[in-house]
Amino acid sequence: MVIHPVLLIAIPLITAFIIPIFKKYGAAIAGGAIAFNMGYAIGIFFHVYSNGKIYETIAGFNPPIGIFLAIDSLSALLALIINLFAFINFVAIGKEANYKFSMLYLLAIAGSTGIVITGDIFNMFVFFEITAVASYALIAGKKDKKALEGAIKYMVLGSIASSFILIGIALIYSQLKTLNIYDIAARIASMDAKIKWASFAMLLTGIGVEAEIFPLNGWVPSAYQGASEGVASLLSFAPSKAAIYAIARLMLVIFPFHATYEIALWVGVITLLIGELAAFMQEDVKRMLAYSSIGQMGMILIAFSLASQDLKYALIASLFLIVSHAASKSSLFLLSKSEKMHGMASKYAGIVSVLSLIGMPPLAGFWGKWYLMLAAMDEKLWLVIILIFFAGIVETAYFARYLHRSIGNDGELSLRYKATMAAMASFAILFGLLPLVYKIASLPLWGG
Amino acid sequence: MGLHNGDKMMRYEEWSKLARKASKRSLWMVHFCTGCGAIEMPPVMTSRYDMERFGIAPMATPRQADVLLITGYLTVKTLRRVIQVYEQMQSPKYVIAFGSCTINGGMYWDSYNTIKHLEKYIPVDLYIAGCMPRPEGIINAFLELMKLIDEGKARGWERYQKYYDKYKENQRRVFNFEVKEEEKEEKEQKREKNEEH
């Protein structure tokens, strides 16, 4: 198999710009492209799984000068998740996807995948912007008051964030004259301390807006609430996961210091608590799920910050949490289209998703919590452990309420829609039972 | 609720003498106290006359009692209750009617609503005359009843079984009870089913 990771970005990007030509068949073409991308992502995942890291340079320039793509276990898994769920989600959206929607969808996918596989920090910024612009448009695409409001909030915060990211990049560049993440990581020690920290703060704030960390996540509830189900589902697995991946790179590769670890850890803990507590009283399902997402992102952030302390359990934990959250949350967002769960498939999807989020074995969410606990135990973070438990109980409480409220038969979802939800939820089981995540997390990371 | 009857009459003579003796010395009574004569009961029970020395004790329910003491006049309404209580008692059982009212209506002889001749509706073993009788009279009546039991002459309950239909008919008449044919048959069947062993 010829491995060209660039295709993961190129195919959706090119297709996105072809689609307006074939308006009528736009959705079908987009579907084909996403399907191809999914297949390709799976291929790359298993390639990395068996052969290790992949590097690809673009346009012949070698790093550190040229732009290059680097795929290690972490990126491969995230690329797989983004493209896999993108495809399933697209199937679920089905006829609602016209050619404009498909184009934006492809752009969002391309951007998210780009963030995950790029090795260049400015490139990452560009992909961030592509993802963000596509997301704004997708959210606003529903064109009702709520959607527009959500989009505007996202836009305002996103624009501030992009400025901060750019400033951060500029600060790094001013010192090191390089944009290659490898290069930066290698020479980070030579940076002036204040500028180093300032750039870290800028980057964390900027990416943090996308990664839904508290208190940068003001847009999250509104955007999720305003967006249509398919878009909310997309937001929950593509941009946010890519952004948290970027923070992980920041933590693991560029700034692997104790101070940054501490900040990320406590920001993660606070995000977790605030998210879960805010979700506790929420009446609107999508808003509740959005807050719950915030909480989950906090937990993932905790896992990554622990991973930066070179704890293998934390990395496994974070990957399991990402998988579980992507599978469960996207499934639940799709389910929020109907007030009630009706029929076997949708019941199955709803319950499995909730159980995985709560952390019931042998679903993926359990392994996430389990390894996170082990990692936190290694660091003797008693308070963190207890707070995670507390947040878990709060989460259980509102999900229990949610489950009770969605008993009933008065919904109308098409069979295909329900099947896709069930397929998404199945990945929580699949990844929980198979040793894929465990194995891949123990492979060495690039730059690490 | 006609339960106590029997075409084949059980004969009181078959009872052993001991049973009669025991029965006579342990008369438990349930007193039906709607009439004015009830006022005479407390002295009989308490220290002045103390009927417990003869083994007579007041009981709360007809299931436990041997003697039904009717203290005075009965109306149509109370008669129904008396009959029910009587039928719920377990034989051998005795009835003592108390005061003139139960004999001939007494001072209510011309009332449209009182029962004049109690004997017509339930078998009375012993009457106590007077309006109203003194406690001595009551004690005396009990002693008389004991004597009758000992001699085997207090057999009102057997009479009630033997002439059950007649008693019922009288009762129905006073209750203005129109008996339909089917209902009669039903009662008959019920009676047969509950026939005494």
């Binding site: 964030a161 204040k194 920290w197 940068l216 605030i274 009283m281 409480a397 990844f431 198979l434 | -």
Partner: protein, 607 residues
């Protein structure tokens, strides 16, 4: 063999999900017999001797990168003997209970799978894994009830329990760097104390020890009866299995005592057990909902097991295990019988039922036996277990616990009679009710058998639990087939039973000496009033213990549920406060962003 059973259970669970209800019941019945066969196989291979299977005999399962160790031990064998027979019985019962197959049998088989897994687990991770599988498979069964309180309280408490156990397990893992149960001993001090205490707390939730019982009344009173029979009879025993495992088999008692020698931690467990026995009994007396009554009665009866474990002497532990065994069976009978009553009449309120004994004589008889066992009447095995516990409390001179236990035992008479009178005796209110279907009756009487066997031969029960106790280093108490002897007194079951039989002779002579006539229900003494006039007021079961209620209710009013609700509402308030952060104004959010930036910069640069 184990792997085959596991595989068959899963496959059967999937199959039963899709087939029709009768077929599903039949499949489930036969499949649920398999684990019992495994038990018998083990018993026939190894006898009742103490065989602690070596590590090489473990079965291993690889799952998501970890290895699970499974093997059977004497302790798990004994508990399996207690819990697993419930499953085929429940399947048999459910054969006619359910109108349509909506996943009950599949979920029950999953529960069986998880139960079997818990009992076989030899490392903490697999114990936890199967424990949680049990939690969610039972949660899905609770979910079928569609009752808000039941769903929420069960899930929240399950997760709380899971976290408590998880907390203990990770501490143990961290200290021992091993998850095998055989390695747990190398821990002491504060951490060991916290770990053991937290694990015990977690198991106590499922073992419904007050004040962690708040979920039980909701769940027990709303779910399908066959499931509740398992929940009360089986699942609670798994909680006690966990407590026994960590306290006695793994010597958690010593860990607790070594940390703080001047406090008797065991005694604390006993006190909680005593409190749950006492208060749950009093609350049960005042209930009108049949299922709620049984739920509280369950809590009370399970409290005795906690007392036994808390006292911790061989005598007490023997009594507690015996009580656990009895409770599994008699409480299952009671819940199944309650299910039959509801199946035939559709009513739950005791005050609305009545007079079913003559309509359903067999159900009544089974219930009567169960109630004899519950009330510890010495003609069922329920007495022996309570007797052992009383003896243990006196032996240890526990002057606080012993009277409470005894008075709770008396309280059991009160609510047992309420069931008997309110449901089965009293006014005949259901003319068209029939006896339950044969499969249900059969299920009940299968469960009655052990109660009879072990009253005649209480010694056999002690023989059965002997290997488990010896494996935990607890000596078994002196006994023969019929008699149990302690340092304080002796209990000879056969003397009681034979004397009772003999004493029946004069009673029977009196009974037969004179003939009697059976009268109809209507022929009742009501001060001469005809029955028709009194019809609505005939049954005294409405508000039965009213005088007691008047006295007790002020003391019982703010129950544990009240405090849990307070906590819940407190979190609600915090939540309301927290979500005000999201003001809805994008300007505020922008301020947050700037503040966050400044905060991070400040932290990194100046601190």
């Amino acid at each position: 063999m184990l792997d085959i059973i596991f595989a068959e259970l899963v496959v059967a669970a999937i199959i039963t999900f899709f087939v029709r209800e009768k077929l599903a019941a039949i499949i489930a019945f036969f499949i649920s017999l398999l684990p019992l066969l495994a038990l018998l196989d083990w018993a026939s291979n190894y006898g009742f001797a103490i065989i602690n299977l070596g590590i090489e005999n473990h079965m291993k399962i690889y799952l998501a990168g970890v290895t699970l160790h499974l093997a059977i031990t004497p302790l798990s064998w004994f508990f399996a003997l207690m819990i697993l027979p419930l499953f085929p019985v429940i399947m048999l019962y459910s054969y006619s209970f359910f109108k349509e197959n909506d996943g009950f049998f599949a979920l029950m088989l999953l529960s069986l799978f998880a139960t079997f897994g818990i009992l076989l687990s030899r490392d903490m991770l697999s114990l936890f894994l199967f424990w949680e599988m049990m939690s969610w498979s039972s949660f899905l069964l609770v979910y079928r009830s569609k009752d808000k309180n039941a769903i929420m309280s069960y899930l929240i408490f399950s997760v709380f329990a899971a976290f408590a156990i998880l907390f203990g397990i990770i501490i143990l893992w961290h200290e021992n760097s091993s998850l095998l149960l055989s390695d747990i001993l190398n821990i002491s001090g504060k951490l060991g104390f916290v770990a053991i205490a937290s694990i015990i707390t977690g198991f106590a939730v499922k073992a419904v020890i007050m004040p962690l019982h708040a979920w039980a009344p909701f769940v027990y009173s709303k779910c399908d009866e066959p499931f509740v029979a398992f929940l009360s009879g089986g699942l609670s025993k798994l909680g006690y299995y966990g407590i026994f495992l960590f306290l006695f088999s793994l010597k958690g008692v010593d860990i607790l005592q070594n940390y703080m020698t001047n406090v008797s931690w065991n005694y604390l467990l006993a006190v909680f057990g005593a409190l749950s026995a006492f208060f749950a009994t009093l609350i049960a007396i005042l209930q009108d909902d049949l299922r709620k009554l049984l739920a509280y009665s369950s809590i009370g009866q399970l409290g005795y097991i906690a007392i036994g474990f808390g006292i911790g002497t061989p005598l007490a532990i023997t009594g507690a295990l015996f009580q656990a065994f009895n409770h599994a069976f008699f409480k299952a009978i009671l819940f199944l019988a309650a299910g039959i009553v509801a199946y035939r009449t559709g009513k739950w309120k005791i005050s609305e039922l009545g007079g079913l004994a003559y309509k359903m004589p067999f159900t009544f008889m089974a219930t009567l036996f169960a109630i004899f066992a519950l009330a510890a009447i010495p003609i069922t095995s329920g007495f022996a277990s309570k007797w052992l516990l009383y003896e243990a409390a006196i032996q240890q001179k526990y002057v606080f616990i012993a009277p409470i236990m005894l008075i709770a035992g008396v309280g059991a008479f009160l609510y047992s009679f309420r069931i008997l009178y309110g449901v089965f005796l009293g006014e005949n209110r259901h003319d068209s009710v029939e006896e339950a279907p044969k499969s249900m009756i059969a299920a009940l009487f299968i469960l009655v058998l052990p109660l009879i066997i072990f009253v005649v031969f209480p010694g056999y029960m002690l023989d059965l639990m002997k290997p488990a106790l010896q494996a935990a280093g607890i000596e078994s108490i002196a006994h023969t087939k019929f008699a149990i002897e302690t340092s304080l007194a002796k209990y000879n079951s056969i003397a009681v039973l034979i004397t009772l039989m003999v004493a029946m002779i004069p009673a029977f002579v009196i009974y037969k000496a004179r003939k009697h006539r059976v009268t109809s229900f209507e022929d009742n003494y009501l001060a001469g009033e005809p029955y028709e006039l009194h019809k609505p007021a005939m049954h005294a079961a409405n508000n039965y213990y009213k005088p007691l209620k008047k006295v007790l209710l002020p003391y019982l009013e703010p129950g544990a549920t009240y405090y849990f609700e307070k906590i819940y509402n407190g979190i609600k308030c915090v939540s309301n406060a927290v979500r005000r952060i999201y003001t809805g104004y994008v300007q505020d959010y922008a301020i947050y962003v700037v503040l966050f930036l400044l905060f991070v910069m400040g932290w990194l640069i100046w601190i």
